[in-house]
Amino acid sequence: MSDMTTTSQPVAPKPGAAPQVADPMLAADGTPLKRSLARALRAQKLRALMLIAPLLIFVLVTFIAPILDMLFRSVENQVVPNTLPQTVVAVEGWSPDAGETPGEPVFEALYHDLFLAAEAKRHTRLGSRLNYEHAGLSSVFRSSGRKVDDVGEVQLDALDALDKSWKDSGFWYALMSGGEGAAGDTAPLKAARGRLERLTGENFGGDAGFVPGQEIARILPRTVAEYSTFALFTAIDDGKEVARTKPWEAVKVALIQEIKRGADLAGYDGPGAAELRAARDMAAGQPDIDFKAAFADIDEAWDEIATWRTISAYGGHFTSGYFLNAADMQNGVDGIEARPENQRIYVMLFQRTLFMSLVICGACILLGYPVAFLLANLPMRTANLLMILVLLPFWTSLLVRTSAWKVMLQQQGVINDVLVWLGLVGDTGRLVMINNQFGTIVAMTHILLPFMILPMYSVMSTIPQTYVRAARSLGATNWTAFWRVYFPQSVPGIGAGSILVFILAIGYYITPELVGGTTGTFISNRIAYHISSSLNWGLAAALGSILLTAVLILYWAYDRIVGIDNVKLG
């Protein structure tokens, strides 16, 4: 025990001990005082951390992590390279400046990528992703997925006609696995697993009931790769036995292409060696498969440079496309350029959001200041009553309050009826006060007013009456005493309220949605639209990121100009 005290707990220095001046201060046991202190405080800090840990974890899991994930979507572009892995690699060497669409190898890669995507039903997702950048691509991918089986039909028919074993699933299985007891090569299987998992986002672990033969994998790598993918998909996703399922056309196309290009069959004597040689001789007499023409046949968009420019530009794992879109720009022919005039919407929406938030903030200051002043200077009993009136809206549902404004402001509503009754406006000239900016500003000012009054009140209630009295005794009129003495001291309250109201307003959603019509909506309504209707989460995330950044910049600017320490909420 005594050992413990000397080693782990710093003891106060003995009164007689000479202080060491040059060196850092030492505790009684010789450790530097700072470290000693840090050690002594560590337990306290740990305890504090433990106390907030449940909330911290809760917030991290349910708030911070989803937000970060959402923000990440604004630059994430996995769907293109994951769906068209071979195509985006092949298209790298191509440039839209060449003046023509990419060559055969790119189309061949596209064929294999698209075939698998269509089998796994993931091609439409890619289509909608690329449609954000190039309108019309969605239907191109949908139709191409449907018709991709038809590519190389002539050659496939010839192969099937050559020998009936090419239609036999057992034969294919033997050919690809190298027969009973042959040396296996799991590498293609592993690659296929990775490809499928990236494509679908699902788990393709487990036994496929198939191992590619080493020999055949060396001779016909692409065919084995395609067959392995087919085998895994069949076994894991479809739950069928590989040896009894006919392989995809893509496998046969890969085989035809490989043997036609002179795959070295000379030393091969595994299963199906004779059929392979026969097929080689047959293929030599057949015309090449023209992928480019076949795709152009499916949809002429494939013959357009713009299509390929889009695929090439958005082939990376990350993209600036969403942010460009959010700023009304796009990746055009000559790099980044403004979008066509009729597609520009977001910059205007951002400006409107900022402008309307400022107006709402200003309106809240003008309406809230006198109320807060009164609250702070009335006798307790009256002030409490008034405070309840201020807080009353808080206890009412936001929807009810907004709906109430609808009743008040609409053309057949209370205000218009009263104006008509008073004869101030004619029955035909009823004012339009809702479903526009005016309606949004009125309703949001009302809803956010307590957020302005409360910080103002809490600051004002700390300003003693003696300041104004002192100013008046020094010769200041009521107005001068207020303006020169009271008002400057209440500015921190205005600042706090303004930050609160502005930040709340800039991200407000429900009220603009209900009373904003088309001219009174905020950027948040557009974000919600992309989240729930157009499902363009990337763009929604980019818009959200810009909004968040704007708020942070404003917050920083406010801190620099006014000083966040001067903000008092109570």
Binding site: R469, A470, A471, S473, L474, T477
Partner: protein, 367 residues
């Protein structure tokens, strides 16, 4: 009567009443005349109406009834900022968002005084309170005593003839308070201003003032110079409130030749000076200051009355001895004796005889 009294007065309250709620009077029939250049202190317990009087004078409260005159002019309907009265507040009320110089400059600015003159006046006022080096500081950067000086300088910078001070030294520690008391009185006499000073600290009132008005229950109980107030209190409240005081209850037996014979409740008989008793048989409270009680009864005259006492407690206080006695059935009778070389220290339990001169013993109204 009030006409003649306030005719030459600088500040005058005439039959002033004040009620906040319409049911009770906080200030009841106040008549007060303050000549120019006087340092008058309003002293009293909290709730006695003294601060209300000050606020009425400053213009922050309106009198319910009566007139308040400043330099012969009624100021009842003049707003505070036009009264030209300097005021020092309890917590100084220095504007926190302004520097010291800006604080001082404020009353000059609102009077539209040109900048060069303003700066000169501010500089002079700061030098007056020896704070010349602090012009660019903020109030929060100053100590309590420094803030006090600035508040004083601000109240004086526009050269008012009347300055009101509302417990200005309440927030300072004892030593600083005593120092500031001295400075404020010096400054007031030097500038020849009239000062109305409110405090509940009787030492402050006695040391600083030309005259002290003792408030209780909305009335002035006595208004007199400090020595008179202490030595000749006009009633029991003043006697109790100012300084330490011994009281004995009794009944007047007879009044003859300016001396009242009072029979104490335990049967003892003493001489006293009749102050507000007029006829035999009246109940009275006898008031004697502790330092006027004589232990060595031989020093008193031949026919002086003496009382028996028992020593209850002896307290050594350095410069004086404070001894608690049991006298006439009470055990809170205090005497103070100077710690001189020949003074004897009384032992608790010992029986002694005490006495006093009849003029030091005042027969006041019964409590």
């Amino acid at each position: 009567m009030s006409e003649s009294q306030s005719g030459d007065a600088f500040v005058a309250f005439e039959r002033v009443q004040k009620s906040y709620d319409g049911e009770t009077l906080v200030v009841k029939d106040l008549n007060l005349a303050i000549p120019k250049g006087e340092f008058l202190t309003m002293l009293g317990p909290s709730g006695s109406g003294k601060t209300t009087c000050l606020m009425m004078l400053a213009g922050f409260e309106t009198a319910t009834h009566g007139k308040i005159l400043l330099d012969g002019v009624s100021i009842n309907n003049i707003p505070p900022h036009k009264r030209g009265i300097g005021m020092v507040f309890q917590n100084y009320a220095l504007f926190p968002h302004m520097t010291v110089a800006e604080n001082l400059s404020f009353p000059l600015e609102v009077r539209k005084i040109a900048k060069p003159q303003r700066e000169e006046k501010v500089g002079r006022a700061l030098d007056m309170v020896q704070m010349g080096d602090f012009a660019s500081r903020r109030p929060a950067q100053l100590s309590g005593g420094q803030q006090q000086r600035i508040a004083l300088a601000r109240a004086l910078v526009f050269e008012p003839e009347l300055v009101l001070m509302d417990e200005p030294l309440g927030a300072l520690d004892k030593q600083l308070r005593e120092h500031m008391q001295f400075e404020i009185t010096n400054l007031a006499h030097q500038l020849g201003i009239t000062v109305v000073y409110v405090t509940h600290d009787q030492t402050e009132a006695l040391t600083m003032s030309d005259r002290v008005a003792v408030f209780n229950d909305g009335r002035i109980q006595q208004i007199a110079p400090p020595d008179e107030l202490y030595e000749s209190p006009q009633n029991s409240f003043v006697a109790q409130f100012i300084g330490e005081n011994n009281t004995l209850a009794g009944t007047v037996r007879e009044i003859r030749g300016g001396v009242a014979l009072v029979e104490l409740d335990d049967g003892g008989v003493i001489d006293a000076k009749p102050v507000n008793v007029s006829r035999p048989g009246e109940r009275t409270t006898i008031s004697i200051r502790p330092e006027r009680v004589e232990v060595d009864t031989a020093r008193l005259g031949e026919n002086a009355h003496t009382l028996k006492a028992e020593v209850a407690e002896f307290i050594y206080m350095g410069d004086v001895f404070r001894t608690r006695l049991k006298v006439a059935g009470r055990d809170d009778f205090i005497i103070k004796t100077r710690n001189s070389a020949d003074q004897k220290r009384l032992k608790p339990g010992s029986q002694i005889e005490i006495g006093w001169l009849p003029e030091d013993c005042r027969a006041l109204d019964a409590i």
